[in-house]
Symmetry: C2
Subunit: 254 residues, 2 copies
DNA sequence: TAGTGGTCTAGACCACACA
DNA sequence: GTGTGGTCTAGACCACTAA
């Protein structure tokens, strides 16, 4: 029997009491350990991580077990595997954002990364929706960024990004880059792992319509996104109002 | 070296010419073979398929290779694996539809399968959009089903289903069940494997609004779905107009 | 040529469902 | 208890990349 030193025990061989959480496979413990390395910055975006063999002998499990852990992380877009080259920590570059997070596509043509023009940015008390979305206390503040996103010079999205002020100190002092998730990763060590979006159809208010250069009452696609970091905590709320005359939200059901 | 009798060759050991398609792993050939069994009805929805060991010895590959093929099919929701019981062909029951294809969720509460009331059903020439979506010829006919779908007695969706008439003979003669995909599978041997949805925000016409019991011009979420069968051919086009006052379209970005 | 990930195999044992 | 899928291991070889 192989002896593993991970966590409490691979299999609860001694304790014969009722199992609370059942059984935790070894490769999942290995995977959790790798996620921890991503969270604490031991493995940084773009880096090549050690080879399967090195990791296996370091941890004391077989290469196959390491492989299964790495495969799951690659399936979650946290790692990128390249045959012949190695395994790399995924970066939040425009290609990944486009693939994973940006579902708005021109009706004729292919997805492109949009331009951004910031309207305003401010630190303010969180409203009810933001508190719910981000798990904030009643008197917590949010950084609120409003911007217009355009494709090919044409305004397409009016976007309001709400961030827990405590999590992103100093963010409002610098320029706001087009690619926020890349900033989160490089300056705050926060990796956006996945997100949940809720879509509705709404009519634009006069003010909203003005920013987008259309008539008041124009139907728009409202996307309410909550983005989660590696540890599963809500890190960003993003409310987008999208014109869908010449673009659509693409959703693949597999 | 093991000898595999699958397809042309596992590895092109003899032919030293330039490789056109590169390399096709054994487990993918095995997987394709299983998909063929699903398509030709050798494996029917709900059936338990042979165990990994039986399949392995039947085909002449190792159990691990069979396992990898089955795992991919399970990940695509075509098979369901149950530890201790066996591997089963997925059915198009309401639970699967809800999980895989029905993304409209009440704002407060959990997804439920909607009721349907058919407005009309007719066989008519395909319009341009239907021809494009379903790869039809100019004079092909479609079966067009319009219905209202409700949750908790409240009209929520005005849905127009377009089907290639040639593919579904006799469908208009019987009753239209609430769950169409289950009918496709049981009566026509057609499995809906996945779908692509394009979402837009639109304003309801007077006629559409009447059916849904709201005012003309109300914003609605338009979902343009193309459903693909196992062999990748477009089998259904479904245009849904959804009220999103008390419900939303849920999209998980992973 | 060396090093990496990818495939394939064989065998042992564990967790789970059911009769 | 028996049979199923799930995990873990060890080793061989293939495909790809870069030096």
């Amino acid at each position: 029997m192989t002896e593993h030193k991970l966590e409490i025990a691979t299999r609860p061989e001694t304790s014969s009491g009722a199992e609370i959480l059942g059984f935790r496979p070894l490769y999942r413990q290995v995977k959790d350990q790798f996620v921890r390395r991503l969270m604490d910055g031991r493995w940084l975006p773009g880096m090549a991580i050690p080879s399967e063999g090195q990791l296996a002998s370091e941890i004391g499990v077989s290469q196959g077990t390491v492989r299964k852990a790495l495969d799951e992380l690659a399936a979650e877009n946290l790692l990128v595997r390249r045959q012949g080259r190695g395994t790399f920590v995924a970066e939040h570059d425009e290609q990944r954002i486009l693939f994973q997070f940006f579902k708005l596509v021109p009706d004729d043509g292919v997805a492109r990364f949009p331009d951004s023009r910031v309207l305003d940015i401010a630190s303010e008390p969180a409203d009810a929706a933001e508190r719910t979305a981000l798990n904030l206390q009643p008197d917590d503040a949010v950084l609120r960024i409003r911007r217009i996103r355009s494709l090919g010079g044409k305004p397409l999205v009016l976007e309001t990004v709400s961030l827990p002020a405590r999590v992103f100190p100093g963010l409002q002092d610098g320029p706001v880059p087009n690619n926020l998730y890349s900033l989160f990763a490089t300056h705050y060590g926060i990796t956006i792992a996945n997100a949940r979006e809720r879509l509705k159809a709404v009519a634009l208010t006069a003010d909203q319509a003005l920013h987008l250069g259309v008539a008041a009452g124009t139907p728009a696609l409202e996307i309410d996104r909550i983005a989660l970091s590696l540890d599963g905590s809500a890190v960003e709320r993003r409310l987008s109002l999208c014109l869908t005359e010449e673009a659509h939200y693409q959703s693949d059901l597999r």
